[in-house]
């Protein structure tokens, strides 16, 4: 992270830095899993992305992962969540204690004791199914209830490692047993992670950290099972009704393979943390590189309110949180060309005043400019230029629409417009579940004359599905904003002026960033 200051620029964001530095992965932890019924999942709202990122196509999700998340309470711990803008940075011992208090209930009685236990539990395609299940909310619109049940139960079926097995992985990765590699190490995990588990610890130099430890042998098993493309296709034919199964498989395989190497996650998170350094409302926990390896990722702990707790916050607070999430997603897409593939509610910590900490960068999709350009063109031609013919051409260029489709441009625009409803016109608008359902119904209307001419190119399959996950989160918050105005701020082809107080603060941060960047080292 660049810490040099140019003369004349003020890093007023430094206190933020301190706070942003204090987040905790404890989010993954208990509250990350919320009670399905309570979350009222189907209320998801889809809107369409800026940039046509959501360009609709496809999409679907709506059964956001919320669906299966458990909300393990711990009321006392929740009270610690700081509201209304109090500073949430804490001393290492306090953060360590809070992480322990928020500990997830795990089935220690079922703990995996050996690598063979891991193989029995997650081998033979089950680890792969579990990963698909984790992403199921984003890929599953065609899931039969039986398959959906299977996927969610599979997640619940994975027990933690025994303390000894986890310690062995740490030692293999760091060359030291955990109690020597760390000043303090909690041998019991505080949370489950998809192919590992999270331990709380304090580093030798005194930082409170969350250490994600991967199950031994799991990466090899999953990588081997991902090789059975025929079976994957069979499984996903069940899960994905539309025409893009092969693209989806290829993309899922790549993303899951990436996720098996925690060094990638550390890199992604470092990239995000560096970019958002000093941001007024967006925080990304810092990575501790010397304690991060292929099967270990160590990041700073922080503390904050969980998604479920937002239900008790004022709508104003919820709107601010939603605005930050929205800005984070599209700033990341347009500035870093990266899209966090896991928008599920467990991956946020809320600190009030719109400040949000973003966690878990295991599933990040990086785009080339060439991949992004067509999406931008679609948004631009439809929403800014209002040029239907150009919009149609950009859909064709992006690969969403077959060039020879015997359809009128009006029909295409009419069909697609719903995906852009929240950003076509300026004005305040509330994300709702009903709107989301309408979008999904539209998209999956296979009787539509468009259905056979529309497909989703591989680079976008995850993006667009996850996009709906994002909007499901916004819908869950019933968030209101002038989304178009915010989009204009972020759209590189508009670069509109700040449209909200947060936009003003962000503009200041951007100016400082640029000044720093321009400063000779």
């Amino acid at each position: 992270m660049k810490r040099t200051q140019c003369s004349g620029t003020q890093r007023s964001g430094t206190h933020e830095r301190g706070t942003n530095a204090a987040r905790m992965n404890a989010a993954r932890m208990n509250a990350a899993r919320m009670n399905a019924a309570r979350m009222n999942v189907r209320k998801a709202a889809a809107a369409v992305a800026i940039g046509g990122a959501a360009a609709g196509l496809a999409l679907a999700l709506l059964r956001l992962r919320l669906g299966r998340l458990r909300f393990d309470r711990g009321k006392a711990a929740l009270q610690l969540a700081v509201r209304g803008g109090a500073r949430y940075a804490g001393s290492a011992p306090r953060l360590f204690a809070v992480a322990g208090a928020r500990r997830e209930l795990l089935r220690h009685d079922l703990a995996l004791q050996t690598a063979e236990d891991v193989a029995v539990t997650l081998g033979a395609m089950k680890g792969v199914l579990m990963k698909i299940g984790q992403m199921a909310s984003y890929v599953d619109d065609g899931l039969s209830p039986a398959v959906r049940r299977t996927l969610s139960r599979l997640q619940d079926s994975v027990p933690p490692m025994s303390p000894e097995l986890a310690a062995r992985v740490v030692e293999e990765e760091l060359g030291l047993p955990p109690e020597r590699a760390f000043a303090q190490w909690d041998p019991q995990p505080i949370a489950a992670a998809s192919i590992g588990q999270v331990h709380r610890a304090i580093t030798l130099d005194g930082r409170a950290v969350a250490v994600k430890v991967q199950y031994p042998g799991i990466a090899e098993t999953i990588a081997a099972d991902l090789g059975n493309v025929a079976l994957l296709r069979r499984m996903l034919r069940i899960t994905a009704p539309s025409q893009d199964v092969d693209a989806l498989i290829a993309e899922l395989r790549d993303r899951v393979l990436e996720e098996l190497d925690y060094r990638r996650e550390a890199d992604n998170q470092r990239l995000m943390a560096a970019y958002y350094d000093g941001h007024p409302t967006i925080g990304v926990p810092g990575i501790v590189p010397e304690l991060s390896t292929r099967r270990l990722v160590t990041s700073e702990l922080s503390d904050g309110a969980r998604f479920a707790e937002l239900a008790g916050w004022s709508q104003e607070e919820r709107d601010l949180a939603a605005e930050t999430i929205y800005r984070f997603v599209f700033r990341s897409l347009y500035e870093i060309h990266a899209f966090n593939g896991d928008p599920h509610p467990g991956n946020y910590l809320f600190h009030g005043g719109g400040r949000v900490t973003f966690l878990d960068f295991g599933l990040v999709k990086h785009f080339t400019l060439a991949e992004l350009q067509p999406l931008m063109q679609m948004a631009r031609t439809l929403c800014v230029d209002n040029d239907p013919e150009a919009f149609r051409r950009s859909m064709e260029v992006a690969g969403f629409l077959r060039p020879d489709a015997p359809l009128s441009t009006e029909a295409i625009v009419e069909h697609m417009a719903v995906f852009y409803d929240t950003i076509r016109e300026p004005g305040r608008l509330t994300m709702t579940g009903d709107y989301a359902s309408a979008v999904v119904r539209r998209f999956f209307d296979l009787r539509s004359p468009l259905a056979q001419y529309v497909s989703v190119p591989r680079s976008y399959v995850i993006l667009q599905r996850i996009n709906l996950g994002l909007f499901a989160v916004l819908g869950e918050l019933s968030a209101t904003a002038n989304w178009r105005a915010i989009a204009e701020e972020i759209w590189p082809f508009v670069q509109g002026p700040p449209s909200t107080p947060m936009g003003e603060a962000e503009a200041g941060w951007r100016a400082r960033r640029q000044a720093i960047a321009a400063c000779p080292a």
């Binding site: 089935r107 009685d109 079922l110 703990a111 004791q113 063979e116 029995v120 081998g123 033979a124 395609m125 089950k126 199914l129 039986a146 398959v147 049940r149 299977t150 996927l151 139960r153 599979l154 619940d156 079926s157 081997a224 099972d225 059975n228 025929a230 079976l231 069979r234 499984m235 034919r237 069940i238």
Partner: protein, 297 residues
Amino acid sequence: MTADPYAAATGLIERSAAAFVSGVPDTNADDGFFGPASVTWRVSTGLASPVAGLRALLMQALHPLAMAGVDQHSDWRRDPVGRLAATSAYLATISFGERAAAQRAAARVRRIHEHVRGVDPVTGRQYAAGDPALLLWVHVALVESALAAGREFGLPLPARDADRYVAEMTVAAELVGVPAAMIPSSLAALERYIESVRPVLRCTPAASESMAYLLDPPGLDEDVAEIWQDVRDGAIAVLPAWAREMYGYSEPPALTAERRTEIRQALGVLDAVVLGEPGVLEARQRIAVRMRTARRA
């Protein structure tokens, strides 16, 4: 012999899963006849179980008198899935249930067997389901199939554990009325016994017909039907060559490492599908907790 058509295999997964759950007690007064430290529990919870089960049926059906009893007396044709589920429930109860539950289930089976008597239309021989010779064949086919399927698709058992499994399982045969002295209690004895029975074995029309049904049961969900093809390939691959010949199945290609992995993967998916059925996760966790505890002790 009647030629009633078979009913569709609708609900195979659901009813098999429910059968398994029914056999696993919520709380247990004793560890039953095997217990969490047994090889039997390890084998019974293995991924290869569906292959083992199908192979066992293929072997059992080759005994003309055993097959005739099933064909003429059970509601096998009218409700094949129900019949299979009843067997699964029985096996789960014997394996995981308390002693009293296992004994009750075995007594019920013995009572039913009393009425199963007749003449096999193919050999003209009289049969009785309670005949220890028939019961023993059915038992041995099951035990040997579990080992054969486990060798290829499950966790490989060390030779000593395979012997232990055969010895542990003798109690299952005793429960249905086979005198202990008749029951092979080592792998070698098991194999000698099978050799001794071979001259009696043959593929009768009833066997041919019912196994053709099992290998490709109509009425499965599409996704399950595709996975079932792998289960079938696995079962046929681990049949003895002479059994395949009796059925007239063509010699399958050698089981390569790749094919073995594919079948294991399909079994994993099937296992996950079963896991999605009500109560299965909890039942498995109850078993797993007891096994982990036993291992730690």
